[in-house]
């Protein structure tokens, strides 16, 4: 029963992916027949994937497309990850402080709301000028973008704990530390991960965007160089697909980590499946 449900869900998604591939290929076929430079508009999928595994070097230093993409991805994504972790820790700490102290909450909460409304990515160029260094700019922007979804969601998680559970803990004579460790932090876990799921793709986007603002090594730099025509256009397509895949994977990775570290989630899932 359980396997049947799982496989049917997998089939539905697989059909959708297949459908998208078919649509892409049909469009690529039309583009190929009507446009003068189809590779700029929409090339077929197989040469894109083929170019990724092409062993022919495309730069002077003998990098193939694959090694070039991987080395620039390592550069960009490692900074995104550092920013993500910093933003996550700061966001969680702020959520804790806001829940511990009403004064902190009253001061910080309106600003957390406002920061959601302002286009942080638009500030990327100025952050780059302030830090003066592309790596720290990537880290700062990724950290800011991670910071506020984590903070607001975790705070919502702390607040979602019902009154009766607070009363129960009180009747057990739990002190504040135990209250947080045993009850509030575990219950806020799924909210915390909701924040992480929102911010993980954003941190990656931010990092790539900062790359495009300045030369150097990084996915965004390669992207814009390829657009300008200083290397083959397939580098561009490879990076587009690569960053799309990484963005989606980062989202799913958060879900996988969540299931791995929160036993309650696993149990709930099992129960639900049993019901079906």
């Amino acid at each position: 029963m359980l396997n049947k449900i799982k496989s049917s869900k997998g089939i539905v998604t697989a059909v959708w992916v297949l459908g998208l591939i078919v649509i892409w290929e049909i469009c690529a076929f039309i583009v190929g027949a009507t446009q003068r430079t189809p590779v700029n508009v929409l090339p077929h999928l197989y040469p894109i994937i083929g170019s990724f595994f092409d062993p022919k070097p495309i730069t002077g230093s003998g990098d193939t497309i694959a090694t070039l993409v991987f080395s620039s991805a390592a550069e960009t994504l490692s900074r995104a990850l550092i920013g993500f972790v910093i933003g996550m820790l700061l966001g969680y700490a702020l959520a804790l402080f806001m829940h511990l102290s009403h004064i902190v909450e009253k001061i910080a909460f309106p600003y957390l709301m406002i920061i959601q409304m302002i286009p942080i990515l638009g500030m990327a160029p100025i952050v780059l000028s302030i830090t003066g260094d592309i790596s720290s700019a990537r880290i700062v922007i990724a950290a800011i973008l991670t910071f506020y979804p984590v903070s607001t969601n975790t705070l919502a998680g702390f607040k979602s704990v019902g009154r009766e559970r607070h009363e129960l803990m009180k009747s057990y004579g739990a002190n504040k530390f135990q209250l947080y460790v045993k009850m509030l932090i575990p219950s806020a876990m799924s909210y915390f991960f909701t924040g992480l799921k929102i911010s993980a793709p954003m941190a990656i986007t931010a990092s790539i965007l900062v790359d495009t603002l300045q030369g150097g090594n990084g996915l965004g730099c390669m992207l814009s160089q390829s657009l300008k025509g200083s290397m083959t256009r397939f580098v561009f397509w490879d990076i587009v697909i690569f960053s799309a895949v990484i963005g989606v994977l980062s989202f799913y990775l958060m879900g996988v980590i969540e299931r791995a570290i929160s036993p309650s989630k696993r149990k709930v899932k099992k129960l639900n499946n049993g019901k079906d």
């Binding site: 700029n40 001061i107 302002i118 286009p119 100025i126 000028s129 793709p201 986007t205 963005g247």
Partner: protein, 267 residues
């Protein structure tokens, strides 16, 4: 009781304002500059930014309208498209869910990778740079705004109270009638939940898509151009304008929401 309420309002409004004032003073007295290790050229004083905005406002208006057209156009198209996808998902349950998964996966695609591709697509659309570039930007923002609306619309259309579904069934109402009288109204609060996400993100989408656009216009493009030229105070003025746009649109959304959902709150 009343004095307590007044005190509550005072701390809720007063504390954040006080905090903002402290930051303002630190900025104006250049303590912030020492903290970040920058100078007045890269991080100009707030009064200077303010005077630039007031002096150059007439120059800024075409940039602001261009960004607003892109942001609002994308927001409207993306929301409609997202809602339709949500409806499709709610009608064809089994296949719709898979489609929704794909759409939310689209949300995780970095916008930066999307914008140049769409620029390429619209290249042959029109001979006029302004038109094709605006279309490209609107498409980017549309894609950016679709996912949150489709997921929320789907939830709003399907998460109806079981007894109201039973009631409609017992009245022998048709599926179509049930859709218009029950599911559609039920999804309204969810639409606003989605808009709370997509209104700020449509401004971000518009600003970022301008970085890659052919057409050199818009608030986002001005931020970048002015930084390249080394005119940091002007760039900051445009950043302030972009922030104000985001905040203003959000406030308008909250007002509309409170009017539209007024009757529901009361119940």
């Amino acid at each position: 009781m009343k004095s307590k309420a007044i005190k509550n309002v005072l701390t809720t409004v007063g504390l954040p304002v006080l905090f903002g004032a402290i930051i303002f003073v630190l900025w104006q007295t250049k303590v912030l500059h020492a903290l970040f290790g920058t100078d007045e050229i890269i991080l100009p004083l707030p009064t200077r930014i303010g005077s630039i905005i007031s002096d150059n406002f007439t120059v800024m208006i075409p940039q602001i309208t261009s960004t607003l057209i892109v942001a609002l156009g994308g927001l409207v198209l993306g929301s409609i498209l997202g809602y339709l996808i949500g409806v499709a998902g709610a009608v064809f349950k089994k296949w719709g869910m898979g489609g929704l998964t794909i759409v939310s996966a689209f949300n995780a695609i970095p916008l930066v990778a999307l914008a140049p591709v769409i620029n390429n697509w619209t290249r042959n659309l029109s001979g006029v740079v302004d038109i094709r570039s605006t279309v490209a930007k609107i498409i980017t923002v549309t894609i950016f705004c679709t996912a949150s609306m489709s997921v929320n619309a789907y939830r709003g259309l399907t998460e109806v109270k079981p007894f109201s579904e039973d009631l409609f069934a017992s009245y022998g109402s048709s599926k179509l009638r049930m859709f218009f009288k029950l599911r559609l109204p039920n999804s309204l609060p969810y639409v606003f939940t989605a808009l709370r996400v997509s209104v700020p993100s449509c401004v971000i989408g518009a600003v970022v898509s301008e970085y890659f656009a052919e057409q050199v216009i818009g608030v986002g493009r001005q931020i970048r151009e002015n930084i390249v030229k080394g005119q940091f105070p002007t760039a900051w003025a445009y950043i302030a304008v972009a922030c104000a746009m985001g905040i203003l649109m959000y406030v308008i959304l909250l007002i509309v929401e409170s009017i539209v959902l007024k009757n529901r709150r009361a119940r």
